[in-house]
Amino acid sequence: MTMLARPETPRHAPTSAPVPNRRRKQRRWPLRLAVTGVVVFCLAPFFWMVVSSLRRSADIFDKTPVPTPVSLENYAAVLHPSQGFLRSLLNSLIVAGTTTVLALVIATLTAYAMARLDFPFKRLVLTAIIATCMFPVVSIVVPLLKLFTSWGWINTYQALIVPSMSFALPLAVWILTAFFRQIPAELEQAAMIDGCTRSQAFRKVILPLAAPGVFTTAIITFITAWNEFIIALTMTNRASMETAPVAISKFVGATEFEIPFGSQMAAGVVVTVPLVVLVVVFQRRIVDGLTAGAVK
């Protein structure tokens, strides 16, 4: 049996829109269900937070799913210039941003060494790196305060950034090490054959491919630094230097015993929104298949 086909006949026009696969369609619903479940699990308490933030402070005990009346009173209070909350958001941004960038840069170096170099005591060093961040924070605050006071670091950004960084570093080092290790070594070698120095090879080849890990680390570091509280509280005593969580901790009710629940929730929403934006932006870089087709 022989089949013939003409080699030179003009090819038929590209098939129009590919026929959507039947199987895929049917199979979607368990996934949808799971997605819905998880999203509800994550968002329900957050929804409650938003709802609470939209109640009048007199109504904070209500349990209606929709605030009646809807009130922006809490937001007005939080964002009122006298609260200086916007200023604290800016401070948080500076502190978390700087922390993230510095921690990422420093951790990247260390993680590279951990993942790619072969030297003795590597495991020990890695363990030591996490060991340092294992001391209960509540117990190092006082010594740290003494240290920074003696250095005149109180009410400075570095007093907030350096500790934040030290908490973020071990995590970043570990995550990045795990990710760098998974990039095929041949790619780096190919780059070095192509004339790159180690650092060029790293920057041009490893780093772009480790993007999911790097951006994940960035998100994590940023959020961790953004939410850091005890150190930030202790190392500042000037309103213009405080970070958002510190500012929130200073919210008070109208009178001594009133809990400023509404405005705390409103502030929570306000500090969370930039992070959500950040996640939405950065998550684009958390994609799969980056190393597809690299090696056989």
């Binding site: 951790a107 060494a113 030297f119 495991r123 010594p143 597809a292």
Partner: protein, 346 residues
């Protein structure tokens, strides 16, 4: 052009090994020392930052743990201004009367850690798998999953305290009326629920990043090998995200062992059902017993180090991944047997 023929003996004649693996050549050694130097250079900044901010205060805390509480001078009514050196007395208390509270806190901490980290691992992996799906609105799904983790812990604790209020929404939605914040297992449940809600996304995010690195072909091979979705998850996905998952869990464990805010704000201090070691250390310190507070902190620290070390030791190869494990004895024996009887007998 040299066309002289180099002839070497074929395999059977080869007995003397030019160099045994035991004595690395000059260059291997040189390389190693080079990478040692480069390694040191690259690690230095991290170590420096950590030393400044963590090592010194930690050492100071350790020093502090050797001192007791200054006494009160009954004549003046003033607290004396030097702390007595008490050696290891602060540590010894855990073996005596104050020990009950310590061991209770210890048990709470361990229970909390095991339960919440286990739940977070499961839920986090589910979240990662969901975030990994290419579906419409993926950015939003990812963002909503990450929201709980983005909210500051203190706010989360307040939120959940409100939710778990005796007249709060939890009791309104659930049958019966549970007094969540009173002593009892329900307080621990409340703390665990809140903590899992808040930190499962952290595990999810890390695992998600790990998922991205699994080549599609590996899954395809497993599909062709007849593996269903569930099997692929266990045999392919899970082992391959193990490094990321382990890092996430390691850090979760360390954080959980030091948990403070969540039970403190949500349930309150000195509730024996939820009091953790960090809370204990905090409580001591806030009553100006810096010495014993520091001692508890040091004990907690030692415990955490122990756990981390065990973790790294047991499972660390996937993350740290030193060289391939040495060949097993069986493999070595096989390898020593002559491999090919080349051409001598067709």
């Amino acid at each position: 052009m040299g066309s002289e023929t180099t002839v070497r003996r074929p395999h059977p004649a080869r007995t003397a090994e030019p160099s045994g693996p035991g004595e690395p050549g000059r260059t291997a050694r040189k390389r190693r020392s080079e990478s040692m130097r480069l390694g040191t250079l690259l690690i230095a900044p991290t170590v420096l930052v950590l030393a400044v901010v963590v090592a010194f205060p930690t050492l100071d805390a350790i020093r502090m743990s050797l001192f007791g509480q200054p006494g009160l001078d009954p004549d003046t009514g003033f607290v004396s201004d030097t702390e007595p050196f008490v050696g290891l007395d602060n540590y010894a208390t855990i073996l005596t009367d104050a020990g009950a509270r310590f061991w209770n806190a210890f048990a709470n901490t361990v229970f909390f850690t095991i339960t919440s980290v286990a739940l977070e691992a499961v839920i986090g992996v589910c979240m990662a798998l969901i975030m990994h799906q290419a579906l419409r609105g993926r950015a939003l799904v990812r963002a909503s999953i990450l929201i709980p983790w983005a909210i500051p812990t203190a706010i989360v604790a307040l939120l959940w305290r409100w939710i778990f209020n005796a007249d709060g929404i939890a009791n309104a939605l659930l049958p019966g009326r549970v007094l969540w914040t009173t002593e009892g297992i329900q307080a621990m449940v409340a703390v665990i629920v809140a903590d899992v809600w808040k930190t499962a996304p952290f595990v999810g995010l890390l695992v998600l990043a790990g998922l991205q690195l699994i080549p599609r072909e590996t899954h395809e091979a497993a599909k062709v090998d007849g593996a269903g979705a569930w099997r692929r998850f266990w045999s392919i996905t899970l082992p391959l995200v193990k490094p990321a998952l382990l890092v996430a869990l390691l850090f979760r464990i360390l954080d959980a062992l030091r948990v403070f805010d969540m039970p403190y704000v949500l349930i309150g201090p000195r509730k024996s059902s939820v009091e953790t070691l960090s809370m204990l250390a905090h409580d001591e310190a806030s009553n100006v017993r810096f010495g014993s507070g520091a001692a508890y902190a040091v004990l907690l620290f030692l415990f955490v180090v122990l756990v981390a070390f065990a973790f790294v030791k047991l499972l660390g190869a996937d993350v740290v991944g030193d060289a391939e494990p040495r060949p097993t004895r069986r493999a070595r024996r096989k390898a020593r047997a002559p491999r090919r009887a080349e051409g001598s007998e067709p």
